[in-house]
């Protein structure tokens, strides 16, 4: 069955500290992978995506993610967290061939940032 697991429900980090949010997926074929961020009361914003090629992808707001096929993981990282990064983060997988279809989302990781 296709699924996305985000094992950490809630993470708290100090401002300026590094961050890693975990994501593991189960998918029948090579997937497209995404990270989205949802600030309180807002919709979802795409942070970054992976399709092929370099397994380390850069996104907006200083985020990066690394695709590890052997571990079925796509962890999100940021070297120095800012208070404005406090939000909920969702990992998602989708099909890599037509017809384009819906995304499967993880349950999300809520990030709190301590001053």
């Amino acid at each position: 069955a296709q699924s996305v697991t985000q094992p950490d429900i809630h993470i708290t980090v100090s401002e300026g500290a590094s961050l890693e949010l975990r994501c593991n997926y189960s998918y029948g074929a090579t997937p497209y992978l995404f990270w989205y961020v949802q600030s309180p009361g807002q919709g979802l914003q795409l942070l970054l995506k992976y399709f092929s090629g370099d397994t380390l992808v850069q996104g907006i707001k200083g985020f990066e993610a690394e695709f590890k096929r052997s571990q079925s993981s796509f962890n999100l990282r940021k070297p120095s967290v800012h208070w404005s990064d406090a939000a909920e983060y969702f990992c998602a997988v989708g099909p890599n061939r037509a017809p384009r279809g819906n995304l499967i989302f993880g349950k999300g990781t809520k990030l709190s940032v301590k001053p």
Partner: protein, 114 residues
Amino acid sequence: SAVISQKPSRDICQRGTSLTIQCQVDSQVTMMFWYRQQPGQSLTLIATANQGSEATYESGFVIDKFPISRPNLTFSTLTVSNMSPEDSSIYLCSTGSGSYNEQFFGPGTRLTVL
């Protein structure tokens, strides 16, 4: 990237009534999706709406409860019918308009049913 707007942004409704949510995209797109995000939960796909055909519903969602219209390539509506408090959620529309199936989401409609 596609820019998506939704109306209303939020609403408080009485049990037994219906609410229609509108989704407008700033470009023509083939596929539009409707998701539900229950409080504290992730996103669950309700249905896929293609222009010119019936919407395709996911398991657990039925047309009588969530009728969808897709009159053209830039617009869709989702109706939440005969509402109950369990329907209190954020409803989001999205498009699969990216070259690699990335989806862009509207801001969501926050629905509270009393």
